[in-house]
């Protein structure tokens, strides 16, 4: 059996890295005494995985962890035990269970929804309209592992539409970003691309990025929650 839980990365711990986040969850699984499965070998590893890698500084209310169990356990009990064993900034929101051979959540995520808040008050509605109407917007994203050091992507392929509001002190971006088997793009690169193409001066380094949702897509293209409908909800 495989437990799947929706967990958070709250603002107070937003600056831990993906690796640190993963280590923390593995230790919490041990503290919670979940009957988790281990890999074979001299240095056995807990069998668990995270649905996506979140950048340093990014807050999320929809992270997913999948834990393979060696023995079955009641979902609600497991979810509560893990919640108690996690540090304050990581909470368990919901949980369900599937068969061990069920496809990994990682492979099913099709999109994410973001909110990005900037301390910025200039009017950028023209640029926003232009972006939303543009058929394509090419951007060279940093790709340190490649020879060229960058990779050209079409921002519009990943983010077809953005909603932008401003309350006088802060500008808030809301958008969906596609996730494909070959990858996705970083929320911060949307801001970089906007700055580059429309000569804006968005203070990218101050961006407060929150991932609000991660979802699957149905055959018809509707958003479907990552967990099953019968998932147990906590808190």
């Amino acid at each position: 059996m495989k437990l799947r839980m929706q967990i958070t990365k709250d603002p107070e711990i937003r600056f831990i890295s993906h690796l640190e986040y993963a280590r923390t969850i593995s230790r919490a699984i041990r503290r919670a005494k979940l009957p988790a499965a281990y890999s074979e070998g001299f240095n056995p590893h807990l069998k668990f995985s995270l649905a996506s890698a979140l950048g340093v500084g990014v807050v999320s209310y929809t992270e997913f962890v999948e834990i393979e169990l060696a023995e079955p356990m009641e979902v609600e009990l497991a979810a509560k035990a893990l919640d108690k064993a996690l540090p304050r900034g990581i909470r368990v929101l919901a949980a369900d269970a599937v068969d061990t051979h069920h496809a990994a959540l990682m492979s099913q995520a099709a999109g994410a929804n973001y909110r990005v808040t900037l301390p910025y008050s200039r009017d950028i509605s023209e640029a926003v309209t232009a972006f939303n109407e543009a058929p394509q917007l090419l951007f060279k994203k940093a790709a340190p592992k490649t020879k060229a050091g960058f990779k050209e992507i079409d921002v519009k392929f990943y983010i077809p539409h953005i909603d932008v509001t401003c309350d006088g002190a802060a500008t808030v971006f809301a958008f969906d970003c596609k996730i494909t088997p070959t990858g996705s793009m970083k929320a911060v690169d949307l801001l970089n691309a906007l700055n580059e193409h429309y000569q804006l001066d968005l203070p990218v380094e101050m961006a407060d990025i929150e991932r609000l949702n991660l979802y699957r897509l149905s055959k018809k293209g509707n958003k479907v929650p990552m967990l099953n409908n019968d998932a147990v909800k906590l808190g």
Partner: protein, 624 residues
């Protein structure tokens, strides 16, 4: 509210999680319950400070006290400091994000002399006046503790009072006194509190002592200048380690720290009597914990932390009376939890190799032994109590068990050492390789030798010794390097010796050094223990400007009757004992370990009214 760390700053520094807290088991009490906040400040980066057992103990213990909130702070790395200074952002605690100035007490641990500049820097970043004399009633009390506190004189200008010795009991007394004084509305201000707290045994208030110097700059006398002040402050020591609190739910950090595992303190103290060893003198006597107590602590620690390794820490854990049976039991008990057991260091004998094999703590890649010196003469000078035969037996056992490489730790620059003694290190490495050939019939055993530069410390037999100067130690390093180059598969590691000289200056320094410390910090010194930050020239300038001579402190042989700057603070070891040990070192005579034999007269047990607790001998509660 003053400025806080913002998203752009945290996104631009290395390892930002160092600065944001929120780790599992970190403690934040409801504000209404908190009467006094003490900040435990470690003068080095997060990963180093979080590995420090002493603060795990004190954090847990202080937070158990009603009304006390203990918090943590570490030295911000260079990149973060630059941002903080640029934007005037003060240094804050990880728990409730108080600036250091907002805390009631800020307590630094003194583990290493080369972190002293970081203390000044952290105070300054935290909004606290660096000099104790400049602090007002609006400022926190700055206190220090830890092993270097047996000579805190170079820091006397910067702290308000020191805790001498083990903190478990005395800190509860200090916090109780503090809460009482604070509740009463802080009558008399900080000066009155100092006069109150000095009545607690183990508290040293430097401003209550006057230092007089001789014309040759040595100390004439150090005398109390206030009432109720003891002429000598003796250390506090926990009588029974079984009844003192040990943290069972320490903070588990998000990222990897230097010692990323459970640290279970098996016993305190070590009386093997190595003459260079500061810890061996200042932590006496040996006090073991019972195996049942340790097993119970281990269980709770495993359950509460989720770590998969237990390290049995003590100054020489292999000397634990019940080691083998306890290790068996623990391995058994934790097999299903996939928790392993490890020892931080091995003694040089086959018993230890057998244990190492059993716990597989050290993978086949290499076992480490510390003969400390190459020649038998030098091992006798330092009272190591290890012969070449012992080493050959130990490595022989290791090779029989399948290891094919060893690491050997040595010191050079020891008293009475000549070039032959230095070259003997290479010789020993050769013999180890030959042993491998004898045992396995094969060649190619890898031997890694590491040679560190000896730094004489106060309250050791070598406190009278003049440290080698730079030129001499370099010559010895090259001599050894050239010799080892000729041996295949033997490598030599050694460090730049300049840090060792600054460490030596502060280890046996006096109050005048405060000026040099302040100057060096003002010139930019910090993280002096990090080779990429250390700047020797800067230190030389600081000494020159302060009108001080580094050689006076580091490279000067002291006379039999010279008064040392640290003698009004004492771990209980008698000067007579140390002088005798110094004489015996010259004569290459050994002194036995008192742990399971007769008292060798260091004076600690009698002076402090404590005794050795060891479960192997007549105290008899446990049979090994």
């Amino acid at each position: 509210m003053e400025k806080e760390l913002t998203i752009d700053i945290l996104s631009s520094v290395q390892k930002p999680a160092r600065y944001t807290g929120g780790e599992f088991a970190s403690i934040i009490k409801p504000q209404a319950e908190v009467e006094a906040t003490i900040c435990l400040a470690f003068p080095d980066v997060y990963e180093v400070g979080m590995s420090y057992l002493g603060f795990k103990i004190l954090y847990h213990l202080l937070n158990k006290e009603q009304g006390v909130q203990a918090e943590r702070v570490y030295a911000p790395w260079i990149d973060m400091e630059a941002k903080m200074r640029e934007r005037h952002i003060p240094l804050r605690t990880l728990e409730t994000k108080k600036t250091l100035k907002e805390c009631d007490i800020v307590g630094f641990t003194l583990q290493y002399e080369l972190s002293y500049t970081n203390i000044l820097n952290m105070l300054d970043l935290g909004g606290v006046p660096v000099l104790a004399a400049d602090r007002t009633d609006e400022d926190p009390l700055v206190i220090v503790g830890g092993p270097c506190v047996y000579n805190p004189e170079p820091l006397a200008d910067f702290f308000d009072f020191a805790i001498i010795g083990e903190g478990e009991e005395v800190m509860v007394e200090v916090m109780t006194a503090y809460k009482k004084w604070k509740r009463a509305g802080k009558p008399g201000g900080r000066q009155a509190f100092l006069q109150e707290v000095v009545k607690i045994s183990g508290i040293y208030v430097p401003s209550f002592y006057k230092v007089e110097y001789n014309e040759n700059n040595t100390i004439k006398a150090v005398q109390p200048v206030a009432e109720n002040v003891p002429p000598v402050v003796y250390k506090r020591v926990v009588g029974d380690m079984n009844s003192v609190d040990f943290p069972t739910s320490p903070i588990v950090p998000f990222g990897e720290i230097v010692h990323d595992r459970i640290m279970l303190e098996v016993f305190r103290g070590c009386s093997r009597g190595c003459r260079f060893c500061h810890a061996g003198m200042v932590y006496r006597p040996v006090r073991e914990r019972k195996p049942e107590v340790l097993k119970d602590l281990a269980r709770q620690l495993v359950d509460n932390t989720g770590y998969n390794e237990i390290s049995l820490v003590s100054l020489s854990s292999a000397d634990y009376s019940c080691l083998a049976p306890m290790v068996h039991d623990m391995i058994d008990e934790f097999k299903d939890d996939r928790v392993s057991v490890s020892l931080p260091s091995l003694r040089i004998d086959s018993f230890c190799v057998a244990i190492a094999k059993e716990i597989q703590a050290v993978r086949k890649s290499g076992l480490t032994f510390a003969p400390e010196a190459g020649s038998q003469k030098m091992r006798d000078v330092i009272n190591k109590g290890v012969t070449e035969e012992d080493l050959m037996n130990a490595v022989g056992a290791a090779f029989e068990s399948g290891w094919n490489s060893v690491k050997l730790y040595f010191m050079i620059g020891l008293p009475f050492e000549n070039d032959g003694d230095v070259l003997a290190i290479a010789d020993l490495a050769r013999k180890v390789q030959y042993k491998y050939y004898q045992v396995t019939g094969k060649r190619g055993c890898k031997v890694t030798c590491s040679a560190s530069f000896f730094v004489p410390k106060p309250y050791t037999a070598f406190q009278w010794f003049a440290q080698d100067d730079l030129e001499n130690i370099r010559r010895k390093q090259f001599l050894l390097k050239d010799e080892i180059k000729t041996i295949k598969n033997v490598t030599l590691n050694y460090h730049d010796s300049k840090t060792g000289i600054i460490e030596a200056v502060f280890a046996r320094g006096d109050r005048k050094l405060g000026k040099a410390l302040l100057l060096a910090w003002q010139k930019g010194a910090r993280f002096d223990g990090w080779s990429d930050c250390f700047d020797y020239e800067r230190w030389l300038e600081a000494f020159a400007e302060a009108g001080l001579d580094k050689d006076f402190y580091a490279a000067r042989q002291r006379g039999e009757n010279e008064v040392f700057p640290w003698e009004h603070i004492s771990p209980g070891v008698s000067r007579k004992f140390l002088w005798n040990e110094w004489q015996k070192a010259y004569a290459q005579q050994l002194t036995h370990d008192c742990r399971r034999s007769t008292c060798t007269g260091c004076g600690v047990c009698q002076k402090l009214g404590v005794k050795i607790i060891d479960y192997k001998n007549a105290h008899g509660e446990v049979e090994a």
